[in-house]
Amino acid sequence: MTAVLTRPDRGRVEEDPRPRYRLSSLDTKVSPYLFVAPFFVLFAAVGLFPLLYTAYVSLFDWELGADERTFIGLDNYSTLFTDGQFWNALFNTFSIFLLSSVPQVIVAVLLAALLAANLRGRTAWRMGVLLPYVASLVALAIIFGSLFGPQYGLVNDVLTTIGLPRIDWQANTFGSHVAIASMVNWRWTGYNALIVLAAMLAIPREVTEAAVVDGAGPVRRFFSITLPMLKPTIVFVIVTSTIGGLQIFTEPKLFEPAGGSGGGAEHQYQTVVLYLYQSAFQHFDLGYASAIAWTLFMIIIAVAGLNFWLTRRAVR
């Protein structure tokens, strides 16, 4: 408060270097930083420090609870890059990511376009699409796990009723990815649709009206006006869903029917974070798990950056 109050006096007191002035000048310069400091102090404690410490741990043969730990340099990383299970996990992660994010963003934009229309009971519809997001993820995963049960699951019952072969959702790699992606889509599509909807409603009416006068139809208006003007929002949605999609953990963890973290009998749906978790808390190999964490961190930065660049170019 003092900072604001003393500001108008600045011109006058500048010629009068009393100690009181020095104090208030310090106040002006320092206090804004003090006000934002809590966040950064906390971030340093619970965000930055673990991040750097993980990098440190990844250079050791560090077994959880062991008496001694040995420095092994970059050995964890070189093991990781020749570890078939890691590449398999990376493939699974990208496969599930693509199966979830691509349909999700497309459906979210279309859904937003529908919700933007003049519907009866507008708020109810808009709230409705958010409901899956409100439901507990764990409950959701258990329900989807039962739906996609290989022997007694509802989805297989429906498939056999309409004459299609049963799919072993646990054993079949692609099948398991579809099952997990459907969980992600169910939960996040509505959430993303609302974000897109908010941006859509903020588009000035004049632009659309001018296009109508020029004779543009609804489809043309959607692709030539709505979509380009949604660009920043779509970039945001894509970047956040990239970060979330590459870190996917809870869904595949709970999809494992007996509660392990192998991601299927042959790691059919073990994602990178699930492999990280298994290394750290089932094999107690903290050093290796840290190496996975850092590698994943780098991959996410690269992919999010790539997506950012691509979407900016594409929607321009």
Partner: protein, 419 residues
């Protein structure tokens, strides 16, 4: 985000202050904590101990399940602080604990004289380099559970005496399985390959590791022959292919998916819960197990070196695991005692199970406990090899993978886990 960080920091601070208590309390009492999971049946016993020892105050930290309890245990061992004065350890995690035995007190040194209290195999499992790390609490002796009605339908003997011959050896068990599935109309013989394999595996003197902690999974002929027997039975259709503890496995008890189940004493409760009242009288338990006896489950009480009052903690642990107290725990929560004297206690011998046709379950499992030949030596990553390598590998065979390929994968992953 920021709000959440604040809340978590506050929680951490409260947790830290809550945990840092211990040692001597203001009123001169020695405060001891005991960390358990599931149900140990110790609630009344702790009060009884406090009444008899006015200078000791006991606090129990209960965790719902074994997995988070042990995750917490290993994390705090790594952190060097935060463990309870007495920590319970389940048999499945014992190999991991024994490989870090230097963090636990030698109870032979600091505890009271308790020689000969336990069944020898229960005791031998916690001895390392002459040190004893834990006091045995309960056990899970193995018997065979089976469906009487399905046995009748398939023309097999179904009375408890008649089935004994069928369950005499693993050979006779799998041979009967062939007979059964030929007439059962789609009902499998057992629930899951891993459930059978693990029981077979634990009967051998040498398992995945030899006594010098060398990995012998490839050279131990017993492992390969068990593998061949179980995967052979899977190929013939004896397995219901239900991964243990999955929702579908639980449903399998109700839907007549399989006819036999490797059955530790505590499994009777699981079957009763999953099969439900409508199947009462269909399930039976035989006083038999292929190739002798076996054990699955049971726990120990340990005294980590982190605690300040190790001697007093050891006294409490020794008192809790005495036969008289474990019988009370058995009455309270049905934990099956591991103490020799407790196995002849009338309270145990006269206990019956109504769901399994009023059978004298206590006496039956007491007999089964005596049939366990030895404690298999467990290497440092034994539990992980069972849970994260061999069980999934057998599941992959059940899902249709070629047996030889699955074996190769299992060997490769075992070497990775054991490195």
């Amino acid at each position: 985000m920021r709000h959440r960080s604040w809340v978590s920091v506050l929680l951490l601070l409260t947790a830290a202050t809550a945990c840092s208590s211990g040692g001597a309390a203001q009123d001169g009492k020695t405060e001891l904590t005991i960390a358990t999971f599931n149900e140990f049946g110790y609630e009344d016993l702790l009060k009884e101990y406090e009444a008899a020892h006015p200078d000791v105050k006991l606090t129990q930290r209960k965790t719902g399940q074994a997995e988070p309890h042990h995750k917490n245990l290993f994390t705090k061992m790594a952190a060097g602080s935060g463990l309870a004065d007495i920590e319970a350890i389940e048999e499945g995690y014992l190999s991991q604990v024994m490989s870090k035995s230097s963090q636990f007190n030698d109870l032979k040194e600091i505890g009271p004289q308790v020689d000969g209290r336990w069944l020898p195999w229960k005791y031998d499992a916690v001895v390392k380099d002459g040190k004893i790390i834990g006091y045995g609490t309960d056990i899970g002796p193995l018997a065979m559970c089976y469906r009487k009605d399905l046995f009748d339908k398939a023309g097999l003997p179904s009375d408890p005496e008649g089935v004994k011959a069928l369950f005499a050896t693993w050979d006779s068990y799998f041979a009967t399985g062939d007979q059964f599935i030929a007439k059962s109309g789609g009902v499998a013989w057992f629930d899951s390959a891993a459930q059978v394999f693990n029981a077979m595996h634990n009967q051998h003197e040498v398992g995945y590791f030899d006594k010098s902690d060398k990995l012998v999974v490839e050279t131990n002929p017993a492992i390969k022959s068990d593998w061949t027997a179980v995967t052979g039975a899977v190929a013939k259709g004896q397995s219901a292919k239900l991964a243990a503890w999955s929702k579908e496995w639980e449903a399998g008890f109700k839907t007549d998916a399989f006819a036999t189940k490797t059955c530790p004493s505590w499994m009777l409760g699981v079957i009763e819960k999953q099969a439900g009242p409508e199947n009462k009288g269909k399930w039976a338990v035989a006083d038999a197990f292929p190739n002798g006896g076996g054990n699955w489950g049971g726990s120990y009480l340990t005294v980590p070196k982190q605690g300040k009052n190790a001697k007093k903690a050891a006294e409490v642990a020794a008192w809790l695991t005495a036969p008289e107290q474990q019988i009370k725990a058995f009455k309270a929560k049905g934990t099956f005692p591991s103490q020799v004297a407790a196995l002849t206690d009338p309270a145990l011998l006269d206990s019956t199970n109504a769901y399994f046709g009023d059978i004298k379950a206590g006496a039956l499992f007491a007999e089964r406990a005596k049939k366990v030949a030895r404690a298999q030596y467990k290497g440092p990553t034994d539990g992980q090899i069972q849970d994260t390598v061999f069980s999934p590998a057998l599941l992959s065979v059940e899902q249709g993978k070629n047996t030889d390929e699955a074996w190769k994968t299992a060997i490769a992953e075992t070497q990775k886990v054991a490195k």
